[in-house]
């Protein structure tokens, strides 16, 4: 699943899909944490997942605000167009 998210991040050129792929990757790493935590019966893995959840929420808020800002400047949501950003 992490590989799927990484492949999506590389192949898609749309900013929305890039953010979605990042979400998929974070979710996959959280699943790995939960699996490891339940394997040893410790709550540490779930706490790590809580932190990942917090980080994903903050990241997606910033990312979507950036997408809105970028959309006002450039109508197409292309990642390659973001290389023209100056100041």
């Amino acid at each position: 699943m992490f590989t799927l998210g990484l492949a999506g991040l590389i192949t898609r050129r749309n900013l929305i899909f890039t953010l979605m792929s990042i979400e998929i990757m974070l979710n996959a790493s959280g699943l790995a944490f939960i699996a490891a935590g339940s394997r040893w019966g410790q709550p540490d893995g779930q706490i790590m997942f809580l932190f990942i959840l917090t980080m994903a929420a903050a990241e997606v808020a910033i990312g979507l605000a950036f997408v809105l800002l970028f959309h006002r400047k450039q109508p197409e949501l292309d990642v390659d167009a973001a290389s023209k950003l100056r100041g």
Binding site: M1, L4, G5, A7, G8, T11, R12, N14, I16, F17, L19, M20, S21, E23, I24, N27, L31, I34, A35, G37, S38, R39, G41, Q42, P43, D44, Q46, I47, F49, L50, F51, L53, T54, M55, A56, A57, A58, E59, V60, A61, I62, L64, A65, F66, V67, L68, L69, H71, R72, K73, L77
Partner: protein, 194 residues
Amino acid sequence: MLFYLAGILAIVATLMAVTRRHAVHALLYLIVSLLAVAIDFYTLGAPFIAALEIMIYAGAIMVLFVFVIMMLNVAEHAMEVERYSLKPSNWFGPALLAFILLGELVYCTLTSTSSFRAATVTPKQIGIALFGNFWIGVELASLLLTAGLVGAYHLGRQAFAKEETKHAADTNTARPDTGRDLVHAGAGRTHNAA
């Protein structure tokens, strides 16, 4: 068995979400994938995290995505998209995957003793460990959330300010050339002063 079914479902839904062309379809598949992962968490013995996954990921973050997608393609192909999204072939895939998940959920509630039962970690254990050993992590998470809030507010306010100046510039260029001369005179004066 339940775990592997939900896992396969999550992988299929994620694959569909990555390969869809339309953003809303990808979002539907992504929500199904998150729900399947939540069922995986439940079978792995983490019911608290499963509830959090559904509430925060499938609830809050996906609503953010939906809002932004709605704000982005307003009035572009609104009618076309509307007509297009009413075709049954578009919502059939997510509906099928969600139906399998619903069946799993009903099976879970009917047979309360699951076959694959790992050591369940209760929310009480999580709370004790979270505010006992990992208190510095809690503080860092609160700091991160504050930074995210301030950053998102800053970006949004900047967008509004840019829109105001763009609107003013548009109205100036829409006027005959007296307005443009005024703008040039103002720019030259500030340049000389600098």
